[in-house]
Amino acid sequence: MTVPLPPPRRLVELTVDGAPVRVPEGSTILDACGGAGQDIPTLCYGDTLTPKNACRVCMVEVEGSRTLVPACSRKAEAGMVVGTSTERARHSRKVVLELLGSSVDLSTTPRAAEWLAEYGARPGRFGEDAAKVEQPVKVDNDLYVRDYDKCILCYKCVDACGEQWQNSFAITVAGRGFDATISTEFDAPLTDSACVYCGNCVEVCPTGALSFKSEFDMRQAGTWEESRQTQTTTICSYCGVGCNLTLHVQDDQIVKVTSPHDNPVTHGNLCIKGRFGYQHVQNLPSPGTSGTPRATSAGDITSPGTAPPRADATEVATGGRT
């Protein structure tokens, strides 16, 4: 078997925080910083998406540039002199984190607390009356939940739903300025929208504003414990594409399904079946319990007596459009 190699790319040399770095032409400053061992915070950057550079937490200082530049999207150029921790860059990162922290709920954003501490950001200093993004949690289907209190408008879900991956175009950014939100047309429930429940938006959401219903329910119940979860990557058994599934398992129950972003076929994207159609795996009677379904800590989701099996839920959610 022959493996096609990409054409060779020239290397460009630039300076990151005083140290010379060489990266292939076309790389971003963020790539170069990674190469130089710098850890730059990112939120709207997605490894499988075109940078939108909306969140502005990855801003770095480039000599000769009037403003700071977004590391995630600016291409590295030969001779560039990049400062990742200059006063200006750190100040901007601190304030942007404060602006985010004061307007949205960052409690489920991985690493947010660490960054807030690192940059000395105090979101509380804008006062009690500081305007917040306040929206009720949207639970309009059985598969995933939209909690836009936590949304930083990174556009990743819109891009994943739209032309970059799924081509469903169920959601968009509606409104303008601080009132902008992610929305379906006329804010219709997802069940009336073009959503196909692939969950690829949930896959890319950086803050937990989008979460699987299973995870949402367990967090509500206080039973969500990532430290007790295992992750097992396997292959989806539904069709021949061979998508990789990563099963997140807590207490012998699949609690959510993600997909490795470095998979060359699917880049972390799945369809509704791979993403949500796992219930049959755990509807089997446990050995020795003579056919009685187990009650689980996740709110009886597997007990046929109180809730339909997950596959049926899928049918309900999508109106049979799978």
Binding site: N53, A54, C55, R56, V57, M59, T67, L68, P70, S73, E87, R88, R90, H91, S92, K94, V95, V96, L99, L100, S102, S103, Y119, G120, R122, R125, F126, G127, D129, A130, A131, I152, L153, Y155, G162, N167, F169, A170, I171, T172, V173, A174, G175, R176, G177, F178, D179, A180, S183, T184, E185, F186, A188, D192, S193, A194
Partner: protein, 700 residues
């Protein structure tokens, strides 16, 4: 694309409005009736998607006909253009003049922006609120309407088969005994150089609603009789015949004028008048020079962009002309929305053919076959004049195929904005024309490489293009003799606020602010400050009137010319109120794409509200820190400049002086609580001490 539509049906009116823009639907795939063929052949696809740029015109059509866009109408537009309904909803909800909720056909937009606020807009607003209730569907406070020389202003837009617009400027409260005494207070006092000096009582009985203009008609406003069909909104404000564009040019008729020389001297509807006054000589000269020659002349003239960024126009043109990718596009930015700016409106209303000619020359020089003229929707008369001028030029062979027999083909299409300041940003304007949300793009790539529809694009402001005519007529060298070395030619200034003769003035670069104000009737005795460059500009003090009005001179003084706004604030103006309004403006107009601007503008406004109640050191520190982050980290110029004016008011005018006793305490607390004293000016304990000095030392 497998789109899911909602099953809402459009009304006949909505369908007709959309079909008037897009033509009748060719098949049931486009929302038409189902025929036998449709069962066998799918239509739409790429062909329909390529029409995406008609999304905004189609939304406008429905909004103009019905007053708002229903689910059925949006659905029908989406079927016609193969646009996902969610995306169309995102676009429609972006623009403030489009409504997705039912509202009356007639909506009154009351300007509450800077120039109007300095001339009694609050009074008008109070009056309208008394009559119509709190702002909502029938009336709404509006950002700058570009009628600043006749402030305070209001604009009524009325949907219908022939949509109408009515300009009230100055907007005088009508009705009841109050109207006879001009309840606007300062509103009209001493202003407007004789346009409005007839007694209010007289106008009161005479005219209710006369400045009505059909956007599709070329003529000046035809008066409607009192008690016309304007509905309840009509009698709220007292209208009068909208004066000609020349009334906004106090210098009209002065032979030394260059850009404004034809305003008031020619009939803006007459191409013959324009040609008799020297029109189309510059285009002939361009054909003699050839495209490269034109670019060279413009480069040598030293012309820089007049939209605010002051980028050399010749370099932009040369870059686009040299790009191999085709087609090239020309975009004329007439989305003049900077509060206090109205020069482009006056140029378009008073001398529309000059813009047509200048765009033709720009297209010729840079290899464009198509130019888009993007006019803000708040300018119905300018739009009507330009539409007429383009149609006439077309009919006379000055646009279209083979212009003047030279084998050059060029056409101009007008696109109307829909109420979004940000669409004047040079890349947001592309997204708006293409039918997407008017969000700025990340640069690089720059427009000269990838602009409209991804192609090399020249974007120029109206005034910039107007300068091309004298450059070609008199030669680059003669043009460059006017002005200074760094700023050549003449500049239009929009003078408004507390002066006797507000209006558009043309002066050679290098004149001082004092000279400009002298022309406008002199600064008021109790001059408080002058805002240069608009909401994104900077305040200067009464002792700084000798600033030379050049790009380099204002920059050296720590100010900016911006778009040429000169807003004069006298002692009666509530400075804190003006600052809060500036902050409100940026909050309203932020597109919401990037965090520093989306949230920063909100935090800036909140801090200014607190400061106007009780100045506190930590709020000043907060403003500086947020301001610096907006300036450093925002995507586009809106966020980057949203803090300029506020900063200059604090630093140069001594706004929000701190009471001296608690100062040390709060500074101590502030700096102790701020662990990263990253910005010298922000967190250094010395800075707040320097702030409250009412008249700071020399301009930095």
């Amino acid at each position: 694309m497998d789109l899911r539509f909602r099953d809402a049906e459009p009304t006949d009116d909505e369908r007709a409005a959309v079909d008037a823009v897009l033509g009748p639907p060719p098949s049931s795939w486009h929302g038409g009736l189902r025929t036998e063929d449709d069962l066998h052949f799918a239509a739409g696809g790429r062909e329909a998607r390529d029409q995406r740029n008609l999304l905004l015109p189609a939304l406008h059509a429905v909004n103009d006909r019905v007053g708002w866009i229903s689910e059925g109408a949006l659905d029908y537009i989406c079927r016609r253009l193969t646009v996902p309904p969610a995306e169309a909803y995102g676009v429609a909800s972006f623009y403030s003049l489009l409504s997705l909720k039912p509202r009356p056909a007639r909506v009154l937009h009351v300007c509450t922006d800077l120039a109007c606020q300095a001339r009694g807009a609050q009074e008008v607003r109070r009056h309208v609120q008394e009559r119509l209730g709190p702002p909502g569907t029938s009336w709404t406070p509006s950002p700058c309407l570009g009628l600043c020389e006749r402030a305070p202003a209001a604009l009524a837009l009325e949907a219908g088969e022939t949509p109408k617009s009515t300009v009230y400027a100055p907007a005088l409260p009508d009705g009841g005994p109050a109207s006879g005494t001009r309840a606007g207070g300062r509103a009209a006092g001493g202003a407007n150089a004789g346009d409005t000096d007839s007694a209010a009582g007289q106008a009161n009985v005479q005219l209710h609603d006369p400045q009505t203009e059909r956007p599709d008609g070329p003529a000046t406003g035809g008066a409607r009789g009192p008690g016309g069909d304007g509905g309840q909104g009509a009698r709220i404000l007292l209208g009068r015949e909208e004066p000609s564009a020349a009334s906004a040019v106090p210098q009209a008729g002065d032979p030394s004028l260059v850009l404004l020389r034809r305003v008031g001297a020619v009939d803006p509807a007459s191409l013959d008048d324009y040609r008799a006054a020297g029109g189309y000589a510059a285009l002939r000269r361009a054909f003699e020079l050839g495209p490269l020659g034109v670019v060279q002349e413009v480069t040598e003239s030293g012309l820089v962009g007049r939209g605010g960024a002051a980028f050399p126009a010749g370099r932009k043109w040369a870059a686009v002309a040299s790009r191999p990718a085709r087609p090239h596009y020309l975009v004329c930015n007439a989305d003049e929305s900077e509060p206090g700016t109205f020069k482009d409106r006056v140029l378009m209303e008073g001398d529309p053919y000059a813009l047509v000619e200048a765009m033709t020359i720009a297209g010729y020089a840079t290899g464009c076959a198509k130019g888009y003229l993007y006019i803000r929707a708040e300018y119905p008369r300018a739009t009507a004049r330009m539409r007429h001028a383009i149609a006439t030029a077309h009919a006379r062979g000055l646009l279209g195929e083979d212009i003047l027999g030279q084998g050059f083909a060029f056409d101009i299409e007008i696109r109307r904005g829909a109420g979004a300041y940000i669409c004047g940003e040079e890349t947001a304007i592309f997204n708006s024309i293409e039918g997407y949300r008017g969000e700025p793009r990340s640069k690089p790539p720059f427009p000269v490489d990838r602009g409209l529809f991804g192609m090399p694009t020249v974007v120029n402001n109206v005034e910039t293009l107007a300068n091309v005519l004298p450059i070609l007529l008199n030669g680059a060298a003669a043009y460059a003799r006017t002005g200074t070395e760094g700023s050549t030619g003449t500049k239009l200034f929009c003078v408004s606020g507390g002066v006797a003769r507000p209006g558009v003035y043309e002066l050679p670069f290098g004149a001082t602010l004092r000279e400009l104000l002298a022309l406008a009737g002199g600064p008021p005795a109790d001059l408080r400050a002058v805002l240069l460059g608009g909401a994104a500009g900077a305040f200067v003090r009464p002792d700084e009137l000798d600033i030379p009005l050049t790009f380099e001179g204002t920059r050296a003084a720590g100010a900016t010319l911006g778009s040429g706004v000169v807003l004069v604030l006298d002692g009666s103006v509530d400075l804190a109120g003006i600052l809060v309004r500036i902050a409100e403006f940026f909050r309203d107009e932020s597109c919401g794409q990037c965090v520093p601007c989306r949230v920063g503008t909100v935090r800036q406004e909140e801090a200014l509200h607190r400061l106007s109640r009780a100045p506190k050191a930590e709020d000043l520190t907060l403003l500086r820190e947020v301001g610096q982050a907006m300036r450093d980290a925002s995507i586009c110029g809106l966020g980057q400049t949203a803090w300029n004016a506020v900063e200059s008011a604090i630093d140069r005018l001594g706004a929000f002086p701190l009471p001296s006793a608690p100062l040390t305490a709060s500074v101590g607390a502030g700096s102790a609580a701020s662990p990263a004293p990253s910005l010298v000016r922000a967190a250094s304990p010395a800075a707040p001490v320097a702030l409250p000095v009412p008249s700071p030392p020399e301009a930095s």
